[in-house]
Symmetry: C2
Subunit: 381 residues, 2 copies
């Protein structure tokens, strides 16, 4: 029996609030008219607050990966060097994208061990010269929040364009694009903002405009996005996913109703509750933090405890009605991850912990029920 | 008072049936699971019927332009020649895209005059050698249906990969990809298929796979689409717009319920009714047909009659509650266009003609009311 009520606690897409789902039932409107333009402008204004920027912000019909590629392809030409900082799957993705456009110098940290970024190695790479540098602010594959401000300082010191993937922080964690000196930042609709997947947004600094490449992919050409957005009624250069804009607008209104500060605090609290519960259930957190890194406030990565395997654990949780994620790449079978982004509730967090605890208890991994939920409830009260 | 009931008679996006709109209210599901995979597979199967192909078909989160670029960028490398046949705005778009990837040789027909394609000029260009050739099957900017079969024959004769934009024909007009020898065909969700905008689909022939380029844009890499689609549960390489897939699935089910043949006949009838009405109101059709071209079955382009201007005409129609399109580029102010794609009804066609007739009558362009609607109703009865 499919009641369409499976609770999605993965690192995106996230559960979408009924208000937002309903907004997509609106009849389609023309995408070149004032009604669409007003909606686009409203979304841009709110996004600027979430990004912490006065830079231009555009909305792309395409996933976060499309926005990541838009960032790289507008900055890196054949002879340009891009430094990619990699301590997770999405850090690697920037390299894979960069290799299609120019010269890539990868600064790698072993993400199969959950390693954190060391600024010294990043600085050494920058000192050799590069046009741009990429950072994934929060890499969901490992559950680490990376040091954005510090990388921003280094990028500025060496004159590199700073490209930041804020896909799983913007709208749910503190992001200060202008203060940190981020030249291009991207976000996806289906993460902390709580809308359905399919849209992404990108901010572009003055410095970026000054050294933008001539011919990025046509669909990703930021100059075209700028030209269309600056028309009397704001437009997108190509037909946008109108229904997803309805949803995005509604999701951004919800963000404003909650208040960005309150939303960020809530996300931090939820992640803290998950970590406290893990600790109480003797589940080890995966990341190896250093003085610059932090546990993610939007996804919690944990080692699969001794006495149970990935399949048994996640299938058990799923059978109760909750979907959590496994590890990616070489981490498959070694870790599991719980997303806590967007418009989710205390109850969602508590239910998820309860489900984990039930499955561990059924499999004799923990002796008694209760400590996990208790630890979380202490944080959430 | 905005009742959200403006009738969209533009060449896409089209009005979306309530059934399809409602489908987007479904809660989001994980995009790596069986439920999504089954939905993707079902859509692929139906799309193959609409394309008339046994080739692989993939669904992209992105507009028709994204799919056009996916086609070109996977085939054309720096030294490859692409022939673009241009007799409208979208024909030109293929050139603009092609210029980002390789050498473009444009075969241009004056679309400001509504010129049709001459096969002789296309053949001359092909005889000089090219890796690929593009055709827009139905260019909505001019309301012409171009000779796809004939171009397919020429492409085969000269060994060129045939890329066809079927954005505004597939699902509403006869398209026979395999029979015509189309190597890559693309369609948008928001045209004849009647779904909301934001998705596109692309078919890829064996011949294309054999000479695919190594590094197209990351987001558009057909090899990645193939790899993901061929997993045990079909997936997309990057997070798809899940809600739009719900809508696309529902729209494709409606196509099957109507039956493709009946749907094609209906589209042809509606366009015929629009042309008959235009004739009865002394409105001149825009395209200059030759023996190879036909009037479009999905959009009707007409000259703005003497005695009224574009603004007065379209604003008058809009005031009655219907949105039609103006001309693009140099055709702005010279023509207007009525889309008749997707899940629209006889009543929508008759209402539109009635509105045109009212506005012309109010402005003394036609002496009496009635002939336009009468001519259309004779076709539609």
């Amino acid at each position: 029996m499919n009641l369409e009520n499976n609770l999605l606690m993965i690192p995106g897409p996230v559960p979408v609030a009924p208000r937002i789902l309903r907004s997509m039932s609106r009849p389609i409107i023309g995408h070149r008219g004032k009604e669409f333009g007003d909606m686009y402008s409203e979304c841009q204004t709110t996004l600027k607050e979430l990004f912490g920027t006065k830079n231009d912000v555009y909305i792309i019909t395409g996933s976060g990966s499309c926005a990541m590629e838009t960032a790289v392809s507008n900055v890196i030409g054949e002879k340009d060097t891009l430094i990619t900082i990699e301590n997770g799957k999405f850090g690697e993705r920037f390299r894979e994208i960069g290799e299609r456009y120019g010269q890539v110098k990868a600064v790698k940290f072993d993400w199969s061990k959950g390693e954190s970024i060391e600024l010294e190695r990043v600085e050494s790479a920058l000192a050799e010269g590069a046009k741009a540098i990429t950072l994934v602010h929060n890499d969901t594959s490992v559950g680490i929040k990376n040091p954005a401000k510090e990388i921003g300082d280094l990028a500025k010191k060496y004159g590199a364009i700073f490209i930041m993937d804020g896909v799983t922080t913007i709208g749910g964690d503190e992001v200060l694009i202008d203060k940190w000196g981020v030249d291009i930042a991207v976000v996806g609709s289906q993460k902390c903002i709580g809308a359905p997947p399919g849209l992404s947004a990108i901010s572009v600094s003055k410095k970026t405009w000054e050294s933008i490449v001539d011919k990025p992919p046509y669909y990703m050409d930021l100059k075209a996005y700028k030209k269309s957005a600056n028309k009397d009624t704001a437009q997108t250069p190509y037909t946008p996913a109108v229904s997803l804009f309805f949803a995005f607008q509604e999701a951004l209104r919800i963000v404003k109703e909650e208040g960005l500060e309150a939303r960020i605090k809530r996300h931090a609290k939820f992640a803290e509750a998950l970590r406290a519960a893990a600790c109480a259930m003797n589940i080890e957190l995966f990341p190896q933090l250093n003085k610059y890194s932090k546990y993610s406030n939007t996804v919690t990565a944990m080692k699969i405890p001794t006495g149970i395997d990935d399949k048994k654990l996640r299938n058990g949780i799923k059978e109760i009605g909750i979907q959590v994620s496994g590890g990616q790449g070489t981490l498959e079978g070694k870790i599991f991850r719980i997303g806590s982004m967007g418009n989710i509730s205390k109850l969602d967090i508590l239910s998820t912990i309860q489900a984990v605890e039930i499955v561990l208890h059924r499999n004799d991994v923990v002796k008694k029920m209760g400590p996990g939920v208790e630890a979380a409830s202490n944080i959430l009260k």
